[in-house]
Amino acid sequence: MTRLIVGPFNRVEGDLEISLDLENGRIQSAQVNSPLFRGFEQIMVGRSPLDALAIVPRICGICSVAQSAAAASALADAMGIAPTPNGLLARHLIQATENLADHLTHFYLFFMPDFARPAYAGRHWHSAVAQRFAAVKGDATTEVLPARASFLKLMGFLAGRWPHTLAIQPGGSTRAITAGERIRLLALLREFRGFLEKRLFGDSLAGVSQLASKDQLLAWATGRAGDFPAFLNAASDLGLDRMGRAYDAFLSYGAYDLFPAGTWQGGQVSAFDPVAIDEDTTSAWLAAGQPRHPAQGETVVDAGKPAAYTWCKAPRYAGQPYEVGALARQVIAGHPLALDLVQRDGASVMARVVARLLELALVLPAMEGWVLALQPGEAFCAHGDMPDDVTGTGLVEAARGSLGHWLSIKRGRIERYQIIAPTTWNFSPRDGNALPGPLEQALVGLPAGEGAPPTEQHVVRSFDPCMVCTVH
């Protein structure tokens, strides 16, 4: 048995190190280390409750809006108010803009460059893929970065800026959209649709949304010009449709009133029960204790703790590790393509990427509908008072999965603030029952070490990890 330490594991948001125990060139077991601790939960303690809206976006530069939305939801829950109809539409639009931009960034800048590696030089697809997707130098970025920047102009209108907006409030948004701006929003969505259909898919968004099985997907991709077909071609050749399976247990808090909350395991969708979540600190450099529900959670540093190997807690649902993200959302929503991929081969590198790009095709048309539904002149923000002693929960979906905030307020100040981020679920360490986290499980059995193909690179990045959120 040899141990291999892989890091810095880049092109993930933040810092990541993975320890692999190898036997005959295969991974026997993996330990995932999130090596950066910032302590945002402590930063919040003692602050005025609404200060959370200014602080939490700074947890993450890529899921900044998701953090804002979770805080705003938790504060709204505490205040007993709900956003106005316009405020809710604006929030959906702001969150969807970030989530779709993140899917795009992940695919083009973080994930695809690995296929340009010299290790794949002999493959029939390699030279074209390297030309288009090589890190920084690939042809694709010339179009993708302006398309992304243009799409994020939605934020200029809806949220002032991205990242780190204060526009999202418990009662909706600070930024009322005018009749003229509503037209501009539609034009920006149309422009992004054009990029996706022409370059990413080589088909209409409706055509992509209707793909209902793996066979249909691969037949659709054959001979089609487009970046998604190019990925499917390379991924099929490398067998990435059958690599990277974790537990096939999925969780979603539900997104935009479009995709439902729930869990999925063994073909069964179940209702989501927020009480079933707890966090275990066994493998983290944090004080030991029984697993706690985040509403009673603690984050107390114990940097010298023996046998710990990460700053990340291990969240569990009904005591089990769960995978979150676009694939989880689409499986729980019952999209036939996502279900077929998972039921045939289990969650895989390919299934996770497909689900992410499928969301681009599904959510952009919904965004067009939300813009049309905006009523300029009607209120964008509801108002209310914060009780002095109260608790609140905010559960949202970031691009990369389920994000929860749990807060309690005492004598008008934040007394406790606990956060479970998507990658906290996916990249969690072993818990008190020695159950590995989803990525730790997904890596077992893969080739690694001297002379091995860079498979583990694809598997790790297939989760679209956000390490700055993971520990926060």
């Binding site: 810092d15 994020l152 964008f380």
Partner: protein, 333 residues
């Protein structure tokens, strides 16, 4: 110009923001200005050992680079060990890497307010992370590299402060360095490039008419000036956010929310709620830079008394409720 980029106690948002550079692709823009990333944690191909060997070669002076860009606060804790951020794969504190690399850099750029002054990481009560900026601990010179540090271009750390930084602040500063270098005269006393920090956020604010008349917003989403009640520090914060728009047409003020002065050291703990203006006897404590209090009070009283109905009514609504009057030719008697 070869750029080496590392991230530490921050959120990565300055890189995400930089990728919004426009109108051209960031990579095309930088390439044509002669700027290349030797390694960037979010963008480069090299991972694991390949990346570590680039960093080690740079730290040992075997591989030349020009600019060291650091994004995120320096975490020196617990107890000076740096264990709150050991660089993945190396087992060594990120702070140690920064100290080694800074010795070989022509220019050291702090990307974002965390890196410049410590940021939120330095604002847990008691600062258990022992977090600081590269050359400042909030307003106090020092930080990780020390008040006397100079890079080989004989400059202190260049603090491109902001939370996050505007893509233009970073791109323009890097391009200026590549084109003709940077001198001490290009920076303010907190090390910020004057090319973006030479004015105030207030300059160009779309709510200026409301400001002039002290027609103030009373609640979130109101159109009025955010200074009197909702915590806006645009008249004190050094940056060009309302002259150099964000994401096409935005800014914090245009987004309807207060400037929290994110380019200023110590903005994270203002001593009051972010979205409320602290007042003494009804007068905001944080008055505009350069303005004597008595003048402000007198001017405010005068302008409030002269506020047109249109401005007053619109200031407390989230959309225009009174349109500007149209003056017709030959009328107006």
């Amino acid at each position: 110009m070869k750029v080496l980029w590392l991230q530490s106690g921050g959120c990565g948002g300055c890189t995400q923001s930089m990728l919004c550079s426009e109108p051209r692709s960031l990579f095309d823009e930088l390439r044509d200005a002669g700027i290349e990333f030797l390694w960037h944690p979010a963008l480069s191909l090299e991972s694991g050992d390949e990346a570590l060997s680039i960093l080690e070669d740079c730290a040992e002076g075997r591989l030349a680079f020009d600019a060291l860009c650091i994004e995120g606060a320096m975490l020196r804790g617990p107890n000076g060990t740096g264990k709150f951020h050991l660089m993945a794969g190396s087992g060594r504190p990120l702070t140690e890497w920064v100290e080694r690399l800074a010795r070989h850099a022509k220019w050291v750029f702090a990307i974002g307010s965390c890196t410049a002054y410590g940021g939120f990481s330095a604002n847990t009560p008691g600062n258990p992370l022992e977090a600081c900026g590269l050359q400042f601990d909030e307003q106090t010179p020092g930080g990780l590299l020390g008040a006397g540090f100079q890079s080989s271009a004989e400059l202190p750390v260049i603090n491109i402060a902001g939370c996050p930084t505007h893509p233009g602040w970073v791109v323009d500063t890097l391009e200026k360095a590549a084109l003709e270098g940077i001198t001490a005269g290009d920076l303010d006393e907190f090390g910020r490039p004057l090319l973006y920090a030479g004015g105030l956020v207030h300059h160009g604010c779309a709510r200026n008419e409301y400001y002039e008349f002290k027609a103030s917003a009373e609640k979130q989403s109101d159109l009025g000036c955010l200074m009197e009640n909702l915590g806006c520090k645009g008249t004190q914060a050094h940056a060009d956010c309302n002259l150099r728009p964000w994401n096409g047409s935005g800014s914090c003020l245009r987004g309807g929310f207060a400037c929290i002065a994110c380019t200023e050291p110590g903005f994270e703990s203002p001593g009051h709620a972010f979205q409320e203006t602290p007042k003494l006897a009804g007068i905001p404590i944080g008055l505009p830079t350069d303005m004597p209090k008595a003048w402000f009070v007198a001017l405010a009283a005068l302008s409030k008394s002269a506020t047109p109905k249109r401005v007053r009514n619109n200031s407390v609504a989230d959309h225009t409720v009174v349109l500007p009057a149209i003056r017709k030719k030959g009328g107006g008697k």
